[in-house]
């Protein structure tokens, strides 16, 4: 049974490939009916499928392909001219064949599909000149029923491929006998030839024995004896008969080995591993940078640098190589369109030509699978709405037959699939009117809409310009599907159209789904990754350049007005730190839509591996997934599509200064210990001295041994500090840096920072002031002095003093 399954699998894979080819070839054949080679090719395909299916006992499929083959055979021998009507029947039978193959794939049997009607029609066509015509009402076992008819023709005309399936038992016996006889004859002749060759050179057999012997004695004999090589050609001559035989299979084997079928799961797994490797590489690069900073000028650095760059180079190459193994030519998708256009043009009574180019452009397998449906919808749309009726076209002075161009090409890290038609083009006023009628947009929106935006109306769900629902389109679903599918692939759609001239649609799709280039942006202490494909540009603006219009922030970007949204409004980030007077705006573009996203900092560009957030957190609006960064942390990836939608509902003005909102939650002090003062010094002794000096005040004291620790305490503590005593010279983070960091927080804007240091230079004092220190106490100091400075700065109420 397992063996059967295995054979069945092979059969299915092969058949699907063949049938796909068949479709394409037949349409081409219709255009060039005299191309005998093409016809022969098609015939062979039909024949192969028939042969294999009969071997596997798929009677219905055999029956169908057999009759199809009859028709094709007639055509092959010029007994039949392939008119479009005949082609319709042939193509119909191919559709049935596909359906049967699908059924076989799903159920391992070919029952359940009625092919009799199609067979009858095929018979009628072939019956015009064939001698036997028996319309079979049911899918009868093909072998006996149709045994008589095709055999004679084939046996005569295509001697190389006699149709054994349709022979009667006796005929088969006879044929076998004949072939056996033929074979024996050949073998005999071969043996004869061998013997003759052997006799002609009687000295040949001993020669090879002599040769190794002489070779062994080589070390002693300085000059090898010249005679032995002489018989060699003769020896080869005697094997002449076998030589080509042996060579032929070898050659065949070589061509077979060139491709291997690999389970897609294995490739996916490999891709995942590469993803991990890319992350590790990013991490390595980061570590290298850190090390470089710390050990500047050391010799081993160069070596490390080399290794890191080799690793990153190889990783990138590996990634590209694995990506390539997953690539399929887009021709796989394009192939089905000639047939579709043909059917559609007959159905719609239009004349449409399809021009395909760039079908060798390669795309990730998963994208190739996803791209088919959107393209079908776009092309159907172009045929139905774009291309005019032949009469209309002539009236407009265009050629009678319309052209749809389908091309694919690479553009940077993206694949562009372009669908052009020379039809009537999109009428923006008509699009707006229709949308208003269906309540998709409001009057105001319609007025403000640019032409580009109006074009995108065709992607709105429920939108349709067709007056009535036809078989082809008009349900208002198709183009909506296009948009969602393309966006699912992180792709964007660009439409250009001119009335009377035509429409051009560009689908821009990233090469692969798993690894993308991203722009990393920072907001407060968080980092987000924005897919670079949707980033048009970044600009630094001062906060004065942001205007508020109808409760929304906008800015002027060259000659257009760009609406703005702050990333922290979208992702609910608490604004604990002050953004400063400058902001960065990341201009996001999605088709014709543009949006400025305000962020605090631009971190850089990085290659990121997209990871899903899992079942528990899926569907968070605005988050497309997550990635793991070089430092091991998780960074969320922005879903630009959703972001555009969310931005519309964000009302708060983008850079409302948050300074006063969260800050200053000063509680009423009721006793001395409500005052909290932090002492930051790396020396335990110094800390103790300060503690001793301040303890008499009765205030609460918190200690930290360096800047970093102090900052962490500030960030995580829920206490409100009233003053800080900061030493300047400290490991990890010095006093100046600490003061600068603290001042970034709105909450600590007014926290008095008091420097306590042995640095007495004027420049040190200046630096202290610059970094936001309010007092500067030089060591040594008296306890009373320290205490009074602190009292002054925290406004200690006198009643608490004992």
């Amino acid at each position: 049974m397992d063996e059967f399954q295995e054979i069945l699998q092979d059969f299915l894979v092969e058949s699907f490939e063949l049938v796909e080819k068949l479709d394409e070839d037949l349409v081409e054949l219709e255009n060039t009916p005299e191309d005998l080679e093409l016809l022969n090719g098609i015939f062979r395909v039909a024949h192969t499928v028939k042969g294999a299916s009969s071997f596997l006992n798929f009677d219905v499929l055999t029956h169908l392909t057999h009759h199809m083959e009859d028709v094709l055979n007639k055509a092959r021998h010029a007994e039949l001219i392939l008119t479009p009507d005949i082609m319709d029947v042939v193509l119909e039978s191919i559709d049935l064949m596909k359906a049967l193959l699908n059924t076989i794939r799903d159920t391992s049997a070919d029952a359940g599909i009625d092919v009799s009607a199609c067979v009858a029609r095929l018979d009628k066509i072939s019956g015009g000149t064939g001698e036997v015509e028996t319309p079979k009402p049911q899918a009868a076992p093909a072998v006996e029923a149709s045994s008589v008819k095709p055999e004679p023709i084939q046996a005569e005309d295509s001697g190389n491929e006699p149709d054994y399936e349709n022979m009667s038992d006796e005929d088969v016996e006879a044929e076998i006998e004949r072939l056996l006889a033929e074979r024996q004859e050949q073998d005999k002749a071969k043996r004869q030839a061998k013997i003759e060759a052997g006799e002609a050179v009687p000295s040949a057999p001993p020669a090879p024995e002599e040769e190794p012997a002489s070779a062994k004695s080589d070390p002693e004999v300085v000059t090898p004896p010249p005679p032995p090589p002489a018989p060699k050609p003769v020896v080869h001559g005697s094997g002449n008969d076998d030589a080509p035989k042996a060579a032929a299979p070898a050659k065949k084997a070589a061509t077979v080995e060139q491709t291997i079928r690999v389970d897609v799961k294995r490739l996916d797994h490999l891709m995942n591993l590469i993803g991990e490797l890319v992350l590790a590489k990013n991490r390595l690069i980061k570590i290298n940078d850190d090390v470089e900073e710390r050990y500047e000028g050391e010799e081993f650095l160069e070596e490390l640098n080399q290794v890191v760059s080799i690793v990153s180079l190889v990783t990138t190459d590996l990634q590209i190589a694995v990506m390539k193994t997953r690539m399929l030519p887009i021709g796989k998708v394009f192939n089905k369109f000639p047939r579709m256009i043909r059917d559609l043009s007959r159905e719609l009574n239009k004349k449409i030509e399809l021009e395909i180019s760039g079908e060798e452009t390669e795309l990730d397998k998963s994208i190739v699978e996803e791209i088919g449906d959107p393209l079908v919808h776009i092309i159907r749309n172009s045929c139905d709405h774009g291309i005019e009726q032949p009469a209309d076209r002539l009236a407009k002075g265009k050629e009678e037959s319309g052209t749809i161009g389908l091309k694919a090409y690479n553009e940077g890290n993206q694949i562009v699939i372009q669908i052009d038609d020379d039809g009537k083009g999109l009428d923006t006023t008509m699009l707006k009117d229709k949308s208003l009628e269906k309540g998709i947009i409001t009057e105001k929106e319609a007025d403000q809409m640019s032409d580009k935006e109006a074009f995108t109306l065709i992607f709105k769900p429920g939108f349709s310009t067709a007056a009535q629902v036809t078989n082809v389109s008009g349900r208002g679903v198709g183009m909506d599907v296009v948009k969602t599918n393309i966006e699912k692939l992180n792709g964007i759609i660009d439409i250009d159209s001119e009335i009377g001239v035509g429409t051009s649609m560009k689908l821009k799709i990233p090469l692969t789904l798993a690894i993308i280039q991203a722009l990393l942006v920072g907001v407060q202490e968080e980092t987000y990754a924005i897919p670079l494909a949707s980033v048009l540009e970044t600009v630094r603006i001062s906060t004065d350049e942001i205007y508020t219009v109808e409760g929304k922030s906008v800015m002027r970007l060259r000659d257009e007005v760009l609406s703005l949204v702050h990333i922290s409004d979208i992702f609910e980030v608490d604004r604990i730190m002050d953004g400063g007077e400058y902001a960065y705006v990341v201009v996001l573009g999605l088709g014709a839509q543009k949006l400025g996203l305000i962020v605090d900092t631009l971190v850089g560009q990085e290659e990121i591996v997209i990871k899903s957030l899992g079942e528990y957190l899926k569907g968070i609006e605005g988050v497309a997934g997550a990635t793991i960064r070089g430092d091991g942390g998780v960074t969320l990836i922005v879903d630009v599509v959703a972001l555009m939608d969310m931005a519309r509902n964000v009302k708060t003005s983008a850079v409302a200064s948050a300074s006063n909102a969260a800050a200053q939650i000063t509680l009423e002090k009721t006793k001395a210990s409500d005052y909290i003062i932090m002492i930051v010094d790396d020396s335990k002794t110094d800390r103790t001295i300060m503690r001793k000096a301040l303890e008499p005040l009765g205030v609460t004291l918190v200690e930290a041994s360096d800047g970093q620790e102090a900052l962490n305490t500030l960030k995580t503590s829920d206490q409100n500090f009233d003053a800080m005593l900061i030493d300047i010279e400290m490991p990890r983070m010095d006093g100046y840096t600490l003061a600068g960091e603290i001042k970034k927080y709105n909450r600590y804007k007014n926290l008095p920072l008091i420097a306590v240091t042995s640095r007495t230079g004027k420049s040190d004092r200046m630096r202290g002031v610059e970094s936001g220190m309010v007092e500067y106490i030089t060591k040594p100091y008296s306890a009373d002095y320290l205490s009074s400075v602190v009292q002054r700065n925290v406004n200690l109420k006198s009643e608490f003093l004992s």
């Binding site: 991990e276 992350l279 968080e526 979208i570 992702f571 609910e572 980030v573 990871k611 899903s612 957030l613 899992g614 079942e615 528990y616 957190l617 968070i620 609006e621 605005g622 988050v623 997550a626 793991i628 091991g632 942390g633 998780v634 960074t635 969320l636 995580t716």
Partner: protein, 164 residues
């Protein structure tokens, strides 16, 4: 020396024996504390227990979902059980742990106050959840009775189920 060793081995096997004989009747759990209560989770639902480390906040989720963290290349949600059980948030300390649970394909990390111990409780010592709790939606699987205390046994699959 070898006698002593034998003795120890014998002792150990003696200790283990009762468990082995009625393994079917014993539930193995991992106990932990949240607030003042002791809870337990079936040991088989636990993938690992790790010390806390940094995580990334995720927007638009209930307060008990702290965010996501990176566990050897996988992005895993982090849920604070204190907050989920209606207790005030608490700063992580030396005893805080993340328990990573896995049921089927669902994985998530849970913040707990501290671990207690691995428990073996006989099935007859586990009572049903109090009647007042709707058994369908409840996170509580049952109540285990040990000599001196009561342990609430939680359903791992319910904890891992998204409820927002």
């Amino acid at each position: 020396m070898s006698d002593k060793l034998k003795e120890i081995i014998n002792k150990q096997s003696e200790q283990q024996n009762p468990d082995i004989t009625d393994l079917d009747n014993v539930v193995q759990l991992v106990g932990f504390i949240i607030g003042d209560e002791e809870y337990a989770i079936p040991i088989l639902a636990i993938q690992e227990i790790i010390k806390p480390f940094s995580w990334t906040r995720v927007p638009q989720v209930p307060p008990y979902v702290k965010g996501v963290f990176n566990m050897r290349g996988s992005v895993i949600p982090l849920i604070d059980l204190r907050v989920k059980f209606g207790l005030p948030e608490q700063k992580h300390n030396d005893e805080t742990r993340f328990i990573v649970m896995k049921v089927g394909d669902e994985v998530a990390g849970f913040v707990i106050d501290r671990l207690t111990m691995a428990l073996r409780i006989k099935k007859e010592h586990i009572g049903p959840a109090p009647d007042t709790i709707n058994s369908e939606d409840s996170l509580i699987d049952g109540v285990g009775k040990e000599a001196d205390r009561i342990i609430t046994i939680l359903k791992a699959d319910k904890l891992l189920k998204r409820d927002f």
